[in-house]
Amino acid sequence: MNETGDMTEAVTGMPERPFAHRLLADMLRIRRMEEKCAELYGAQKIRGFLHLYIGEEACATGAMHALDAGDNVVATYREHGHALLRGVPMDAIMAEMFGKAAGCSRGRGGSMHLFDAARRFYGGNAIVGGGLPLAVGLALADRMQGIRRVTACFFGEGAVAEGAFHEGMNLAALWRLPVLFLCENNLYAMGTALDRSESQTELCVKAASYKVPTLKVDGMDVRAVHEATCRAAQQVREEGGPFFVEFRTFRFRAHSMFDPELYRDKAEVEEWKKRGPIHSFSAQLKAAGELSEDGFLDLDAAAEAEVAAAVAFAEAAAWEPVEDLLRDVTTPGGRS
């Protein structure tokens, strides 16, 4: 592969039907879960910040299916879908958003801090760019212990303005660490468009300046995301050094539930919605004779059922007793 690549136009043939349906089903699971989250936010069941991923599902779906179960994942505060596809049960994610003790972070983290140590999902990090140095360190630990594993680090394009991006990129390249940097470029850092915040808007050029190989891919196309991430992950596994992939994507909803969206035209949003990852992929599958309308409805119904069960689980789950307030500040049995 070249030092830098552009796969925005390149997509190979349709994947095998079971896998194609799995990709579609997973995008639907994220979409239906988050639509319910928005509804529950309105009902004040979920509070705090809630950053929806709606419109960007192809990125997490294509990328997560390119990773091995033993890989590390570091994510951002817009990580509900990543956690779900990493295998964190939807019940535990929903309970976390409710703030219940049965949540995947025992109700201490909330929407922005989903964790699952057993699945090597190192969180929801709500400081933009904060995950990159952590990913470098996880990969360093693996290298020093002789463990062959990829550390996948998701972040948005807003992170490229942070020092942590540049320091992390340099360290990973300098020390040849197996970090897969996955940049979800949804064009707006909260309300600031990329071209209003960066002199260089070609993100791959920034990564390449650290001698990190790069790929740019259409983040609305789940097949393209999957293919690109597979290629990048394979190179990281084989050669040991880092790789940078940019997914060009778009969030259909506001930045968070507090965002009135004054900074972008409705027409722009509508234009991107035409390229929505779920309907475009299902249309492709139907055109190829790989999916019927009933088949689609079955997948959608399964996602809806999983969401309904997760909400029921979260509703029924217990609150952590307030007597436990000071728990988990430090490690029990440890010195501090």
């Binding site: 983290g109 964790f115 699952d116 996880l138 630990a141 320091e167 360290l171 500040v329 440890g334 501090s336």
Partner: protein
């Protein structure tokens, strides 16, 4: 055996590197240069560049990488050259190291040790003379240590590495050349506790409470006062978070008076926290209001006489003790 603070710290690091393959040292100029304060001199040749890892000037990046490596099963010792530069890494220390355990609902721990030099007194001017221990001592989720003696420089690192949570160790730059006798029995276990404050000099009339680079000044003041027949106790906090309130309260309840010495600025200082705890715990045992000797509220100046005037000094401690005792 007479040993310097620098040598004691070097021996402690050497022990850690020899005894645990998960331990590695990472920071600016820790390797080929031998450490800014020569603490890791010779380590690069002995342990190699993987375990004595020179970093670029990327405090945020390599402290964060230390946190990640700790999550990944290693036992990193990250050296941030001085507390002044740790401000560039503050986000990772406060928002990641200190919080990950809690935010994850107890699923992960961060067994990381961060070492940094601190303090003023060498005419390094305002940007290289900070004493910001209190900023770190404010944060739940991290332990903060201030070894002020040769024995603590030798003995605090091993228990800090055994701690499953982040530990920040402040080494006052003025202490590196101090010397003291250190036991040299073979196979000696140098570990000390990292829980309790220590009475460095017993006394009856007043307790001088201090830590780090101010300890030698407090002991000097106590010597001078003793020559005039004034017998004061000197308490070394040692552990700045969590504070050992019991030892403080026990001492002050006995002496009924307290002077707190802190190289940090007075406003919002660690001395203020110690004073608050004394008032909460010992109010009815006090015979006089506690008094603080802190740095003056000015950036640390370059000129020697002005720097001296800005910092706590033995003479200021003596004057404060005399004021409280009215002698």
């Amino acid at each position: 055996m007479r040993v310097s603070y620098r040598e004691a710290m070097r021996q402690a690091l050497h022990d850690a590197l020899v005894s645990d393959p998960r331990v590695f040292l990472m920071g600016e100029d820790v390797g080929r240069y031998g450490g800014t304060y020569a603490v890791s001199k010779g380590f690069y040749d002995e342990f190699g560049p993987e375990r004595i890892r020179d970093t670029p000037l990327s405090e945020l990046g390599f402290v964060g990488a230390g946190i990640g490596a700790a999550l990944g099963g290693m036992r990193p010792i990250v050296e941030v050259m001085t507390v002044n530069f740790s401000l560039l890494a503050l986000d990772q220390i406060v928002n990641s190291a200190a919080l990950l355990r809690h935010m994850s609902g107890g699923q992960v721990s961060v067994p990381l040790v961060i070492r940094m030099a601190t303090g003023a007194g060498r005419q390094l001017a305002a940007q290289h003379s900070h004493s910001l221990e209190n900023w770190y001592a404010h944060i739940p989720g991290i332990r903060v240590l201030a070894p002020a003696t040769i024995a603590d420089a030798r003995g605090m690192l091993a228990p800090a590495l055994a701690d499953p949570d982040p530990v920040v160790i402040f080494e006052h730059a003025q202490l590196y050349n101090t010397e003291d006798e250190l036991r040299d029995e073979p196979n000696e276990d140098w570990r000390c506790d990292i829980e309790r404050a220590a009475i460095r000099r017993p006394g009856s009339r007043l307790t001088v409470i201090t830590y780090g680079g101010s300890l030698p000044k407090a002991l000097e003041a106590a010597d001078e006062l003793a020559r005039d027949g004034i017998d004061v106790e000197v308490l070394d906090l040692r552990v700045l978070r969590p504070l050992d309130t019991e030892t403080i309260a026990e001492s002050v309840s006995r002496t009924h008076r307290a002077v707190i010495v802190d190289e940090g600025w007075r406003s919002g200082s660690l001395a203020a926290e110690v004073m608050a705890r004394i008032v909460e715990r010992c109010f009815y045992d006090l015979d006089a209001p506690p008094v603080r000797v802190c740095s003056e509220e000015v950036p640390i100046p370059y000129a020697k006489h002005m720097e001296d005037a800005a910092l706590p000094q033995a003479a200021k401690i003596v004057a404060a003790v005399r004021e409280v005792l009215n002698v």
